[in-house]
Symmetry: C2
Subunit: 127 residues, 2 copies
Amino acid sequence: MDRKYSISDLASEFNVTTRTIRFYEEKGLLSPQRIGATRKYAGNERVKLKLILRGKRLGFSLDESRDIINLYDPIAGNTKQLQLLLDGINSKQKELLDKRKEINSMLSDLKQAEENCQQALNAQKIK
Amino acid sequence: MDRKYSISDLASEFNVTTRTIRFYEEKGLLSPQRIGATRKYAGNERVKLKLILRGKRLGFSLDESRDIINLYDPIAGNTKQLQLLLDGINSKQKELLDKRKEINSMLSDLKQAEENCQQALNAQKIK
DNA sequence: TATTACGTTGACGTTAACGTTAACTTCTCC
DNA sequence: GGAGAAGTTAACGTTAACGTCAACGTAATA
């Protein structure tokens, strides 16, 4: 049905303030329609916000998130543009694979710490 | 051999400024030895710095990184302390699993975008 | 011996990402 | 019709994470 959302709809759905959403617009990350002065967000704008917040949780800056969003942009006219877009996508993919590797090593570090901790706890129990 | 490092050794190895390293100390994340007034970093301090920077790349704040470092702390005396430590480790593990999931969905989004882009490029070639 | 390199401690400046407050409009509802 | 509730712009405040001097000490080296 292609619903529309008010600013506070999105704010409460994603647990951010309306100030935050307006700030993202100010930075060129969102571009809602206007009914008079009031903002109205269609589905694609909602998705953008979702992408921004996911980016944030993964340590991307707003500038980076803007770039990421643009990678999904279906405009990209000529071949050169498309090639640039593809390069951007590939580079961001590598970046993410690196992050995933780092997460994995962090997880294995923590697993080690967990075992040590378990060990020490068991030693206490025996006593 | 348990080498020691100067502040600029670490700075150049990890590609940060000495200011950054001193700042981390100021925030209680590092605690190098002193030879006179000069800082000297042993292996464990070097590892801490590594953990901090990895944390940063994954979107953790310095406060969070300090907590993470403390999860590896082998002091943890009594059972209650150990249990708390274990809880902290488990909670951080879950957090990381969440991040990994988000990375995976971002990767699959990008894969989709890549295919679309490839598609469009092929369409250009045929022409 | 003077310059160059590296170290130190302040202390103030900067940027990203919002928070907060003010002053105002517009809509709904009792 | 007046009292919220939700929207707006504008402007200043705040915090984290450093950058950037300045002013100084020390140690090697040309």
